[in-house]
Symmetry: C2
Subunit: 262 residues, 2 copies
DNA sequence: TCGTACGCTGTACATTGTACAGCGTACGGA
DNA sequence: TCCGTACGCTGTACAATGTACAGCGTACGA
């Protein structure tokens, strides 16, 4: 079986029933259930939080719950659906700041920060594809909340969705890069600095600064500015500012001095 | 062994030697080699182009070359390093348009388009992390070329790197989403439309439009505008425009009417 | 009271990267 | 010219994964 790591490959009906906790069809007949879906989600989330997405295995979750691996399939059709409900649950737990009345930049920054916090708490949420999102209560509530930050700015419905998608995908990409950096460092048991220290001299020997003047100059300047090749925190600050400036050109097209500039 | 799918976990020295085709230490002693690194890269790239990253297995590449799986390890230390050299080779083959003298928006759009073309030709390149890039001749040439598009705009070195990173990560994220969409559709043998057709009614039954007015209104408006929940081509156009507008605020800060508006 | 639906389990299989040891080849030094 | 040895290639083997399948026992509805 292909590792899914992504979306419910199966029946949307089944997944939606799971997400919305639709009660099962008829009266239970056999033995009492020893667990319930939320317990499974909780255990799986705990495992994934501490051991990463690659640490999320059915066997590991089962072990955590002191239960045989196959037991999990009583609560969940498969690993993909488990990820779906884990994600929706995480969305449901996100804090949602009320920024009504504030300037739009403040409101959008808050939305970005809330997602940033999600990715900080549950790094794996940045790694799963949200293209076909889990349409559960958590995801819907999140979507509704985030749209309110874009409401009343003179955007049409499609533009609202476009702006939100752009903002969220920026934050997710940034978080993914940060998580990758941490994972790589841990996997290699070699910090970024150590890696560059090992690679640097070799590169210097083979790389002709005359042939690649910009690459060597800018590369080393960027490397020196932040400790290593890439600083996710800096990239976040920089990117968010550019992004908001870009949205400003859209939002304030009619009313040039609409809301707050930062 | 953990599936790498990402970076050379091992010795940077070995990887760099591979990337730059450093001749091996001494005179060859044993039998003639039946293959060479570039042949392996070519075969692996062909396999991955047609069958995706999950289709890239050592056994599959070996089969393509009519060779036993373990033979590949004579040419490459492991799968991670193979991915590194594949990526660098793909970077090396990218077309690089000379846009000297053109307005900066045109130049940056060209850079974006070149990367978009790469992701179209080799979808897997969008899926691998480029956080710790393969520092081979291909990647360096790419970096040098792309930096020239940002040269002479009054940005300092760090800002040039920041802008390029932001632009490239936007294009990559967009391509990744597009590839995910295609992969999901193929895996599920269910188009996005079919999926929404199956999920829609169920969702309508459980979702109260009064409780989530914005989510239902904007969600269905966006879904109706493009055929499904997400249209990567539209997101690209929209996002790139916003991004360039955002960079404009940085680039044209001193000289308000610097270069071309689109 | 009893049949049956259902919860839980152990075993099994296909798929993966790659460690390891063996076999044969052909070059460099004698 | 001849041989030791470095090296290319191979088959076998192992650990880890998701999950299909069949069996076993439980407890509810008739």
């Amino acid at each position: 079986m292909r590792a899914p790591d992504v979306t419910s490959s199966g029946d949307p009906t089944r997944t939606l029933a799971l997400l919305w906790r639709e009660p099962s069809t008829a009266a239970r007949r056999g033995p009492q259930r020893g667990l319930n879906l939320d317990t499974v989600i909780e255990a799986a989330t705990a495992v994934t939080d501490t051991e990463g997405l690659t640490g999320l295995t059915m066997r590991r979750v089962a072990q955590e719950l002191r239960v045989s691996p196959m037991t999990l399939y009583t609560y969940v059709p498969g690993k993909a659906e488990l990820l779906d409900v884990m994600l929706d649950a995480a969305y449901g737990r996100m804090s949602r700041t009320d920024t009504t009345g504030q300037p739009w930049r403040v409101r959008l920054t808050a939305v970005a920060e809330e997602n940033r916090a999600l990715f900080a708490t549950h790094p794996w949420t940045a790694a799963v594809s949200t293209l076909r999102p889990p349409l559960g209560p958590g995801a819907i509530a999140k979507y509704e909340h985030e749209l309110t930050a874009l409401d009343g700015l003179g955007l049409d419905d499609v533009e609202m969705d476009d702006c939100l998608t752009l903002l969220l995908s920026f934050v997710q990409t940034n978080a993914r890069a940060a998580a990758d950096a941490r994972a790589t460092a841990q996997l290699t048991t070699m910090t970024d600095e150590q890696w560059w220290a090992a690679a640097g001299p070799l590169l210097a020997r083979v790389l002709d600064p005359a042939a690649y003047p910009l690459a060597s100059r800018v590369g080393s300047a960027a490397g020196a500015a932040h400790g290593s090749a890439h600083d996710p925190a800096h990239a976040y600050e920089f990117g968010l500012r550019r992004l908001l400036d870009g949205l400003a050109a859209l939002i304030e097209r009619a009313t040039p001095a609409a809301s707050g500039r930062s």
